[in-house]
């Protein structure tokens, strides 16, 4: 590395010297969350596990469990043997990501730029230009730490001029209650003889990062293994290596990460989007009433709203029309949409009946429309193919029926990979489905076992008489009807879910396809296996075509 490139790097770093990135690492957050949801005692040792390559591996460990010897990456069976009194539960990454997003949103109190990294269980705040509102970086960190402690969370907090350094310090150096501050004017004035100068800051940063393990560099597992093989365990020795030799040996990622650690290479962070409410309103000098005037109000509001969404290139999946009466009472109506839209014609059709249902009282003086669940949408003139696609027609139909009857009543069938006949399909509200359900259609020569056209769920009790205990029935009696069975095929044995066999009521079922004398084709099951000496119980489960 020659002196010229050293200078240019210092300059690049210098341009970002006023950045103040705060990383808050919350290693026990997932355990806290699961514990609060399930009501575990606070101090109880607890751990969460997840499946990794079909092995149950601990993913998050509480402090007391950590003190007792459990660690992340340990097998669940080993952990159970080591600490039988601990509580174990499966790890829910989606719930953790949601909580971190909420925490990042809470951190908008410090700065409008905040985001989360669920994989590392941390959230970050870009406090540059905003920390003086809290009384400086140190005061901000102290306030953040106090508030997290008050909420029962132990956060490892670090502030640095770049994300890589803040990440490394928070995850590997900071302790709860002792935030690390390597940024801002306080740090500049307190660091050594070269106080305030760029190289002085950089030197202090290097000094703070050098003793950290190389795992703080966010590298892939094989690079970490290679570094361990080469004897490079700490960041300090790595900083002295030449980039060419590192790239040759470990690939480009290591050099990128090293540059990002000191802020020499830019890193794109994704802050949480700040949603601007899409709201339009109208008020009238004289209160309005009557269906025509109200219909005009709704049309005007929708025209304003679609204009607003077109200007901001947005589309909505939820529309709220609200109104305020002269006596101060407010009312509103929500319309959910299956797909994002800002088509005024569709919104008008959805709200066509609304005017008749508004109770205007002595008149309405204020009305508003609000769009929710917004997403980005191209302006119409950029969409070349304007023909409505079949799926969009279906969405319109679902929206229309949902607006009329309620979205819970419009349903579609979704396949479920379960061999239990009851559970092989799921009826879901059509508005909740993002994609059309995908069914496997067996061909005419498929050897799949027959399934009925109509399923009785739950199955109905049936009186049956069979010649032998393990034979198909000959006589059936159901709802006062007698059937003589003429033909039978089967049985098809469907076992209970094996993971629930502890319940004694769960038994295997033998299913027969029967044809009665008058031609009805039935799907009849026998709960309980006669060869095991179980009491047989016949049920009617469905009808074939």
């Amino acid at each position: 590395m020659n002196s010229e490139s050293e200078d240019s790097q210092t300059l690049v770093a210098g341009r970002r010297a006023d950045r103040q990135l705060v990383c808050v690492y919350l290693p026990e957050l997932a355990v806290h969350q699961a514990g609060r949801a399930a009501g575990w005692p606070d101090a109880a040792p607890a751990a969460l596990w997840q499946l990794q390559q079909n092995r149950q591996i601990l993913a998050c460990v509480s402090r007391s469990a950590g003190a007792a010897g459990l660690s992340v990456g340990m097998r669940l069976a080993d952990a159970r043997a080591l600490l039988p009194e601990a509580v174990f539960a499966p790890f829910d990454p989606a719930a953790l990501a949601g909580l971190l997003d909420r925490l990042a949103r809470w951190a908008w109190r410090y700065s409008p730029l905040a985001g989360s990294d669920p994989a590392a269980s941390l959230f970050w705040i870009e406090a540059g230009g905003a920390s003086h509102l809290q009384g400086g970086p140190a005061a901000l960190l102290a306030d953040l730490d106090n508030r997290l402690t008050a909420a029962g969370l132990s956060g490892h907090i670090a502030m640095a001029p770049c994300y890589g350094a803040a990440f490394a310090l928070a995850c590997h150096a900071a302790r709860p209650g002792q935030p690390i501050c390597l940024s801002g004017p306080d740090f500049a004035s307190s660091s050594g003889s070269l106080s305030g100068s760029l190289s002085g800051r950089r030197r202090a940063l290097i000094a703070a990062l050098s003793p950290l393990p190389v795992a703080a560099l966010r590298l892939e597992a094989d690079i970490l293994a290679g570094l361990a093989q080469a004897g490079l365990h700490k960041i300090g020795p790595l900083l002295g290596q030449k980039r060419a030799s590192l790239t040759v040996r470990f690939g480009p990622q290591l050099v990128w990460r090293r540059d990002q650690l000191l802020g020499d290479r830019d890193e794109r962070l994704q802050p949480l989007p700040v949603e601007q409410p899409a709201l339009v309103s109208r008020s009238w000098a004289e209160p309005i009433s009557g269906p025509e005037a109200l219909a005009q109000m709704i049309t005007d509001l929708i025209t304003d709203m679609t204009g607003l969404m077109a200007r901001r290139q947005l589309q909505c999946r939820l529309l709220e029309i609200g109104w305020q009466r002269v006596d101060g009472q407010c009312g509103s109506q929500h319309f959910a949409l299956s797909r994002p839209t800002r088509a005024a014609s569709l919104l008008r059709r959805l709200t066509a009946d609304l005017a008749c249902h508004i109770d205007a009282g002595f008149g309405i003086e204020y009305g508003w429309a609000r769009a929710g669940r917004l997403s980005f949408g191209l302006p119409e003139n950029l969409q070349l193919d304007r023909r409505p696609s079949p799926s969009s027609l279906l969405d319109d139909l679902v929206d229309h029926l949902s607006a009329r009857l309620g979205s819970e009543k419009i349903r579609r069938l979704q396949p479920v990979r379960q061999w239990q006949p009851d559970k092989a399909q799921q009826s879901l509200p059509a508005a909740a489905l993002d994609q059309p359900p995908l069914w496997a259609l067996p061909g005419p020569d498929s050897l799949s076992a027959p399934r009925p056209l109509r399923l009785l769920s739950p199955p109905e009790q049936l009186e049956a008489t069979a010649l032998l205990p393990d034979h198909a029935p000959r006589l059936l009696r159901w709802r006062g009807q007698n059937w003589v069975v003429q033909r039978a095929s089967g049985p098809e044995r469907i076992g209970p879910p094996w993971w629930q066999t502890s319940q004694p009521a769960r038994r295997s079922t033998d299913y027969y396809r029967l044809e009665t004398e008058n031609g009805a084709r039935l799907w009849v099951g026998r709960h309980g296996l006669p060869e095991r000496g179980e009491q047989a119980e016949w049920v009617l489960h469905g009808f074939f075509a």
Binding site: L394, R404, P450, G519, A545
Partner: protein, 249 residues
């Protein structure tokens, strides 16, 4: 002789429109049934299908008709099924539908137990473009003849306007006001294996004539077979067939 030839020519002339499936009609490819229907099942009309709840005949027959009806339509054209969520005869079962070659993803279920609201939803669905067919299971309305007449008429009008075919299912209901009225029953068909088949009676057909017979159905090729036309099974007992015919009658 002259008189007979003239009579035959006249007969042919009368039957001529029935020989080819007219536009806007779905032919069953069963000659006598298509003749009775005047060329096939009219599309864009409302049809009544009655039958017992305690077998799969009505659902199976509708599925078979839909299979033919939607053969040329878009594979995503939805089929809207309006009915009570808790029916006596259970619910449509996706894996069973898929085995008969009908994609359950096409189904849009409207679970509305109030018959008037349900019929309203069916009308709404008929007015939407791109819908393949609409099925309404509100036979309970038939106990109120005035409402039944009105609902049938409204549905028929909506189907005509939207060009979408509607089916109303019931246990038993008067077919006045509908384009056709069908009575379905399960039937034993000798020698057809487990292939679906029913005893079908076309009781009312506007501009056509009644018909009854046994139909069997090949699910994946969407083909109906008139059992009386097919060569009789060599081992079929005559008694059983006569019994099936009696039932159909």
């Amino acid at each position: 002789m002259d008189r007979k030839a003239a009579f035959n020519a006249l007969k042919k002339q009368i039957l001529l429109p029935f020989d080819q499936p007219a536009a806007g009609r779905m032919a069953f490819a069963v000659d006598r049934l298509d003749q009775a229907l005047g060329g096939g099942l009219a599309k864009g009309r409302a049809h009544l299908v009655t039958g017992s709840l305690l077998d799969g005949a009505v659902a199976g027959f509708l599925l078979a008709v839909l299979g033919r009806l939607l053969a040329g339509a878009s594979p995503q054209a939805p089929v809207v099924c309006c009915g009570s969520p808790r029916g006596l005869a259970g619910q449509l079962y996706g894996p069973g539908l898929a085995q008969l070659g009908f994609d359950p993803a096409r189904l849009v279920l409207v679970c509305e137990s109030h018959p008037l609201r349900g019929m309203g939803a069916a009308e709404e669905a008929l007015a939407c473009p791109g819908v393949g067919a609409v099925i309404a299971d509100y036979g309970m309305l038939a106990s109120r003849p005035d409402m039944w007449q009105k609902a049938a008429r409204r549905l028929q009008l909506a189907a005509e306007q939207g060009g979408t075919t509607a089916f109303v299912t019931a246990v038993s209901a008067p077919a006045a006001g509908f384009e056709t009225g069908w009575q379905l029953a399960a039937a034993r068909l000798d020698g057809s294996g487990w292939q679906p088949g029913w005893s079908v009676a076309l009781q009312h057909s506007r501009g056509g004539r009644p018909w009854s017979g046994l139909l069997s159905w090949q699910p994946h090729s969407h083909r109906f077979t008139d059992i009386k036309q097919a060569s009789p099974h060599p081992l079929a007992k005559p008694g059983r067939k006569a019994r099936a015919d009696r039932q159909a009658a």
